[in-house]
Amino acid sequence: MSTATLYDKVWALHQVAELPSGATQLFIGLHLIHEVTSPQAFAALKDLGLSVRHPERTVATVDHIVPTTSQARPFADGLAEEMLSTLERNCQEYGIHLNGLGSGRQGIVHVMAPELGLTQPGMTVACGDSHTSTHGAFGAIAFGIGTSQVRDVLASQSLTMNKLKVRRIWVDGALQPGVFAKDLVLHIIRTLGVKGGVGYAYEFAGPAIEALSMEERMTLCNMAIEGGARCGYVNPDQTTFDYLKGRPHAPSGEAWDRAVSWWKSLASGADACFDDEVKLDAATIAPTITWGITPGQGIGVDEAVPTLEQTPEEDRPLAQEAYRYMDLQPGQAIAGLPVDVCFIGSCTNGRLSDLRAAASIAAGRQVASGIKAFVVPGSEQVAAAAEAEGLDAVFRQAGFEWREPGCSMCLAMNPDRLEGRQISASSSNRNFKGRQGSASGRTLLMSPAMVAAAAITGHVTDVRSLPPA
């Protein structure tokens, strides 16, 4: 059993009670809600005649269903409009703050909360969205929940939970130029598998992790869930504190100093024990891309689609399904594979540094003919910052569309979607069958820079080998 890890300390502090079933009642410090997984929770609350216990600890935004072209109300899609108006009504009725469209603070929930300083080290963070693991980047224990649990958090500011084991993923070395946090996490999932993390929280540590910016740490923790780990985290350090200082919801003045010393006390100590440990070397990781229908089916861009012989026996049926669905041959090189659509955005890679990385590839180049390429900032703040430094112009000049913030084509609950068997180069997080809105649409996951490179050449391209603009 793990001891003295950040996970153990934060868990103990938030433990409300041992329930008769043996599960723990865990206090939730920050609850984030959005339009998709909250309406039924509010309806249940109403049915039970309950109120929201801590409306000030719940913050709402709208992200999944918003169009990224025109965000004028009412939306053209009546169902989307109904979802947003339901959220607005619920927030108003229960006194919950909504960072709505045009507020300057709307965005994908996992982009919005960190940039406002809502997410802080040592908190428990819950949201009806599996990518809540993102917030672990701050040294928070953050995890996705279902709608019944959203109801429970609204009613009691707590949840029934079981403690996870803790696996430390220690990453030595440094990521090479052209290799990003996205490549690192795709490599981790490829190595440990999509169910490797079931039952675990992942602690990401080591020199390569310490060197990551907060936005890179968010990308990493975001996809812990794709590796089966409901939460992933990085111990808070000076990078964390520098990021938080001065943000709207961060403590200030003397409270800031007390906060920093508390946050420091929560990091996994030298005496920490882990249930498991895995070591990796960042320097050996190439730009990584998925070829199949689960995020674990990843390879270096310089590799070929694995053959059945190279695939562990238990994974072969899935590999065969993936060859068929993706229309790929075992042994086929992934570089050079033509793409149709290039999507830069999502809670994984829709932050300013992601857009900068993609823009640096787009600058002075042109999107290949016949390719649809578009950039969706993760939030209104990201959009404003990117526009202030002219990234929108860089993208537009290169032939990318510059859109309004939202989840967009990551899950296609809005007008952005693949058509038919189109294949996308996507900076998002899931390549499941049908994920991007077409039942036969295909997704290749990769870093924003790799997506930009694919847009320029029209096919999967090692971003490190792109000829000078």
Partner: protein, 207 residues
């Protein structure tokens, strides 16, 4: 679609025909594609469960086969329900008629969502699941029966031991799988917990 009542109260056993869905890592986007999440109630989800897989298989998907209509037990393989946290996935299974799931392993959020709806998820080794699936496929119309204590499934007189985490079992057996009222009972402990968390006090100096 089912006319069986939704789970309520203590759940110690589930019986009904079993339907087998083979494959590892079946994600919640497949169980219920995202476009069906555009709803403010769960009511219509039963008809949409596995919509894209079913349309691709053109009537041959287990959920479309006539012999599996009325099935109450779903038998799956490894890491079932991975991906999105959408409770819409177990809600759709529930509304189609599923009342228990047996598999080699489950994604955690999906497992918790099932529990919150009173759907037991029970486990067995991959070899046992394989044998169980073969037995269930051979007897699609036969009622199988699952007991939680001891955890086991019986099909056509053959019995397989299953496993289930103690707290989930206790919550189902005790009728406490719907957690809200239990959580609300801990008023003092909730106040005490909030009081000891520095961020809940705005990091003011302790007195």
């Amino acid at each position: 679609m089912t006319s069986t009542p939704f789970p309520s109260g203590a759940i110690s056993q589930v019986s009904g025909p079993a339907v087998v869905l083979r494959g590892n890592d079946i994600d919640t986007d497949r169980i219920i594609p995202a476009r069906f999440l555009k709803c403010v109630t769960f009511d219509g989800l039963g008809a949409q469960v596995f919509a894209d897989d079913r349309s691709e298989q053109n009537g041959e998907h287990p959920f479309d086969r006539p012999e599996h209509q009325g099935a109450a037990i779903l038998i799956v393989n490894r890491n079932f329900g991975c991906g999105s946290s959408r409770e819409h996935a177990p809600q759709a299974l529930l509304r189609w008629g599923i009342r228990a799931v047996v598999g080699e392993s489950f994604a955690e959020i999906f497992y918790g969502n099932c529990l919150a709806l009173g759907i037991p998820c029970l486990q067995a080794s991959s070899e046992e699941i394989d044998a169980l699936q073969t037995a269930a496929e051979a007897a699609p119309q036969t009622s199988a029966s699952i007991s939680l204590e001891p955890a086991a499934i019986e099909i056509e007189g053959r019995r397989w031991d299953l496993s289930m985490a103690a707290d989930a079992k206790n919550r189902l057996l005790g009728g406490q799988w719907d957690a809200t009222s239990q959580l609300l009972q801990q008023e003092q402990a909730l106040q005490d917990t909030a009081a000891r968390l520095p961020y809940m006090q705005g990091f003011v100096a302790s007195r």
